[in-house]
């Protein structure tokens, strides 16, 4: 290849909002449920039914817009996007085209190459569609409207990104910001965050953008990265061979590692957008907007600074803990209950991360409560349980948010503080292991470890190893004398 090319990327990101109910009716917006159980006449498009906007959707949209430094429109409208498809019960989607809620913002990203701002063209509210299930065995299609009417935000960036690193950094930034706002859990795999990549290439130094394609079906950061590399290569090869890029929508097949054309601009549909007459324009009250601004939470950069000041824990721990709003919340709430930031951080950094990884879970999936973690820490501090028992208890907490006090009680894991029982055990171990006793006396310090282990075994793990150690040494000292 003789020429050098620059890649130009813009993103359309869809985020499913974490509202309790749908955008235009009172049905639960929660994921899952048996097919067509989270439905009503409104979200199944029954004749005569009407949409009523869920105010929480507007709040989230404004909160995300403010966090992304957007202008919040004082006057915005919903529009109908008309197209026939069975997953869409009305055969039009209620969205925003002409007057979206947020415009002209931007977020700062950081890659190895440094910091830069990615512009945000607009953010708008819209409704999700249902789900089609193609039953090839029965040769028919079934439709589940549980997702129909689940609120979405579409965040449209400007074509400001130049490579996959920037795209990933931008998505990470959005995800963190939105999670911190509690507006969405932003899971790519589950589809609560979806990104469509608009990509074009142009000769380096060229002023005009090249013809772009839109890539869909990107379900992980890995897929996004691979799709960007693949599409960049494909377009450059086309141009090098004297061909031209066709403006089209392409679908990424992550198994094959390649994309194929879905539809070109020529057969693009005419959506016949027009303002939805069922929904009056939204007028944003200035005082309300001020309240929303005040209610913006502490985002990650500020949180990191605060942690560095308030808590005596390593920067590395701060980095990991604040990377998830959920993790940070658990950290802060636990510390509030039991103090000891270092110990709380250790539980999160070691045992929690290990179990998350082993179970293929995200921090957002954590089930144990700060209350229970604080109890566990207090119990170990009070030597009611030893550290190995604590790990066992923590696993039960991680698994099902078990109450550590009850669990220890039920499983009989409490450290035995009964001096006579411990003495009995020590006596037995010393009598049964003359060789080790002999070694210790001859100055082999290591032998004490074996004896402690044997005593713990005798106690079925329910003793404080420090206490055992101390007692053994005293006993052996006495024998010497």
């Amino acid at each position: 290849m003789g020429k050098r090319y620059e890649t130009v990327i813009g993103l359309e990101v869809h985020v499913e909002l974490a509202t309790k109910t749908k955008i235009f009716c009172g049905c639960p917006a929660a994921f899952g449920g048996a097919p067509n159980t989270h439905v009503c006449p409104v979200c199944t498009g029954m004749p005569g039914t009407l949409p009523v906007l869920n105010k929480k959707v507007l709040e989230y949209a404004v909160a995300v817009g403010l966090a992304a430094n957007c202008k919040i429109s004082e006057y915005c409208k919903f529009d109908r996007k008309n197209y026939f498809y069975p997953d869409n019960p009305q055969n039009y989607q209620i969205s925003q085209l002409y007057l979206p809620i947020c415009t002209d913002g931007g977020v700062e990203i950081e890659t190895e190459a440094g910091k830069k701002t990615v512009g945000i063209h607009e953010i708008h509210m819209e409704e999700d569609a249902g789900k089609l299930i193609h039953d090839e065995w029965e040769d028919c299609s079934l439709v589940d409207y549980n997702r129909s009417g689940v609120p979405l935000l579409e965040i449209v960036s400007r074509p400001d990104m130049r490579n996959a690193e920037e795209v990933i950094a931008y998505l990470e930034k959005l995800r963190m910001m939105i999670q911190y706002l509690g507006a969405s859990d932003c899971k790519l795999q589950e589809g609560s965050m979806r990104a469509d990549v608009n990509l074009s290439v142009r000769e380096e130094g060229a002023e005009k953008y090249g013809t772009r394609t839109e890539m869909k079906n990107l379900n992980s950061f890995r897929a996004i990265r691979r799709a960007i590399e693949g599409e960049r290569e494909r377009q450059m090869e086309l141009l090098e061979a004297g061909g031209r890029v066709i403006q089209e929508t392409r679908r990424w097949d992550d198994n094959k590692g390649e994309s194929y054309a879905m539809r070109s601009k020529e057969d693009a549909k005419d959506y016949r957008y027009f303002p939805d007459p069922d929904l009056p324009p939204i007028v944003i009250d200035k005082a309300w907007l001020e309240e929303m601004k005040k209610a913006q939470p502490e985002f990650r950069p500020e949180k990191i600074k605060r942690y560095q000041k308030e808590y005596d824990i390593p920067d590395y721990d701060i980095e990991i803990i604040t990377a998830s709003k959920r993790m940070a919340d658990i950290f802060e709430e636990t510390v509030e209950r039991c103090g000891q930031p270092k110990k709380v951080s250790n539980w999160l950094m070691v045992e929690t991360l290990r179990l998350l990884k082993e179970n293929g879970m995200e921090p957002e999936d954590i089930r144990f409560s700060p209350e229970n973690l604080a109890k566990l820490i207090k119990m170990t501090d009070a030597k009611e349980i030893n550290s190995s028992v604590a790990k066992e208890v923590f696993e039960a907490m991680f698994d099902r948010n078990a109450d550590p006090e009850k669990y220890v009680e039920e499983q009989g894991l409490k450290t035995v503080n009964d001096e006579s029982a411990l003495r009995e055990a020590v006596e037995k171990v010393i009598a049964g292991n003359p060789k080790s006793v002999e070694d210790y006396r001859n100055g082999k310090e290591k032998a004490i470890g074996f004896l402690v282990g044997q005593t713990m075994k005798e106690m079925k793990g329910k003793a404080d190893p420090g206490e055992v150690n101390k007692l053994l040494r005293e006993w052996l000292q006495e024998m010497k004398e």
């Binding site: 006449p41 029954m46 005569g48 039914t49 026939f84 069975p86 019960p89 016949r272 027009f274 007459p277």
Partner: protein, 510 residues
């Protein structure tokens, strides 16, 4: 059948005093329906069993002192584009020939709560698109004053049912005159309220920004009472308005002294039937004689109302009717190959020609490249029309004019020339474009004995002024009279409910 000649308010008063039972009123209406339907075909569905059951229930509640409102025990009819839980709601279309809603419209819910007894669902133009009730998939309705003529539309079944005494009151819907024009043709009273007054929840949408449900009745008092019952602020309808001053029956005072009434020259010129013109001028004189100040003025923009209306209504309709696709409910073609063929065939077979014409018109004006030139321009015209009315209402309390340029046309005449039919809506569409309330009230008969309708329009939220003037006019006018009602089968051999699919469903409880 003296009972059937009473007004709704007279009837409920007699039920209240125990003079008659709610059941008697329903039985009388059902008997009248049985006798008249073979000729008039006002109803698509008659729910005799349900109505009798409801009458007993209402009677119990009245006897127990729970119910005492002015509509208690009154048999009413509901236009078939207004959803009734458990009762077939077809919109006079083959597309919804099997549609039984799982919910009632808010207006219906309020009527039932007030003790009204629903007799059945009335015929109409398919999806309320038409001005004659001839576009119904279940056969046309005939005008009780002359069965060779249309009752008007689209709420023709409701207006004819009131005129034929097959109910005491009826709900209609008005997108461009669909309550006021059939009321005029059938010699009854109809009110189109200010946009946002009656909840649209459960009204199958035609032109969402224009649609309003309203009453059709024998006189102004009955209509005012029904409007009072169905008016509500409904959170299920985002365009519903929480308004005060909805005690419409309080406006039934015989007093127009000093009321300023404007008569737009634009409404009295070319295209207006001579006899209609004379009747409207005579009505204006009557009001002037009662102390109102009536004067002619130039409203302006009247010629743009029809194109703006048909552009906006069709645009919204093209989108509103997309949900009828054969997937979830309603008609699905028997044979098709694949999804697109299923859509195409279901919609081609399920919709009639007038509905298709408006869907195509609406799709065209919204399509890219034409949106600005048609739809957006129509919205601008709409805003200008609203402004013209604002200026007029700065000077006048009411605007007076004809409800329609002619009396009821002969069957078949209108559909032969749709454009001419559209132009017939010239005096009514402006109220919908500007969101204003309007009332149509009989103001005489032409030389053939056909009723002529007078229209009054008020400023937004000024129903009470309008009702006051209409009531005063009605009092001054005196009894309007009833059509000579026929019974049995007509010359064409139309037996009771024998024609059309809807007819077959009549008399059954769904």
């Amino acid at each position: 059948m003296e009972l059937l000649e009473w007004t709704a308010l007279e009837l409920s008063a007699k039920i209240k005093t125990g003079e008659i039972k709610a059941r008697d009123a329903v039985l009388a209406a059902l008997e009248r329906i049985e006798a008249g339907e073979g000729i008039y075909h006002c109803y698509i569905t008659v729910d005799a069993e349900g109505a009798l059951r409801r009458a007993e229930e209402v009677q119990r509640r009245m006897d127990g002192g729970e119910l005492s409102g002015p509509l208690s025990g009154v048999p009413v009819a509901v236009k078939d584009n207004i959803c009734t839980e458990g009762l077939l709601t077809t919109c006079a279309s083959k597309m919804l020939g099997n549609f039984v809603p799982a919910y009632s419209a808010e207006a219906v819910r309020r009527l039932e709560e007030a003790g009204a007894v629903i007799l059945g669902k009335t015929n109409m133009d398919e999806f309320a698109m038409g001005s004659t009730t001839e576009t119904s998939a279940y056969g046309e309705t005939r005008n009780p004053w002359d069965i060779g003529r249309v009752p008007g539309g689209s709420s023709g079944g409701s207006a004819a049912a009131v005129a034929a005494e097959e109910c005491f009151l009826a709900l209609g819907s008005d997108t461009g005159g669909s309550i006021r024009q059939p009321a005029a043709f059938c010699g009854v009273v109809g009110i189109k309220p200010t946009y946002g007054t009656v909840s649209r929840y459960g009204l199958v949408a035609y032109g969402s920004s224009l649609d309003q449900i309203g009453p059709i009745g024998r006189n102004v008092s009955d209509c005012a009472a029904m409007l009072e019952v169905i008016t509500s602020y409904d959170k299920k309808d985002s365009t519903s308005i929480n308004r005060e001053d909805t005690d419409f029956t309080a406006a039934l005072t015989d007093d127009v002294e000093g009321m300023r009434i404007g008569l737009p020259k634009d409404y009295m010129g070319d295209g207006l039937d001579r006899e209609v013109r004379e009747a409207v001028l005579e009505a204006a004189n009557v009001l002037a004689g009662r102390g109102a100040l009536v004067e002619e003025f130039d409203l302006g923009l009247a010629e743009y109302a029809i194109p703006a209306y048909y552009t906006i209504a069709s645009a919204e309709a093209s989108s509103n009717l997309e949900r009828f696709d054969g997937v979830k409910y309603g008609y699905r073609a028997a044979e098709y190959e694949g999804l697109h063929s299923m859509y195409k065939r279901s919609r081609s077979e399920g919709f009639g020609p007038e509905v298709k014409r408006r869907i195509m018109l609406g799709s065209f004006v919204l399509s890219s490249g034409y949106y600005d030139a048609y739809y957006l321009k129509a919205l601008k015209v709409k805003a200008l029309i609203k402004k013209a009315f604002d200026e007029a209402f700065a000077k006048y309390d009411l605007i007076l004019g004809p409800a329609a340029p002619t009396t009821a046309p002969v069957l078949g005449e209108s559909l032969a020339d749709p454009l001419q039919m559209y132009l017939g809506d010239i005096y009514t569409v402006s109220a919908n474009l500007a969101g204003l309330p309007g009332i149509s009230i009989p103001c005489g008969k032409n030389s053939e004995g056909l009723p002529i309708g007078l229209q009054m329009m008020g400023d937004c939220f000024q129903e009470k002024k309008m009702i006051r003037a209409a009531y005063a006019y009605e009092k001054a006018r005196g009894t309007f009279g009833r059509p000579t009602l026929a019974s049995g089968t007509d010359g064409a051999g139309r037996g009771v409910c024998a024609e059309g699919e809807g007819g077959k469903k009549s008399g059954k409880t769904i």
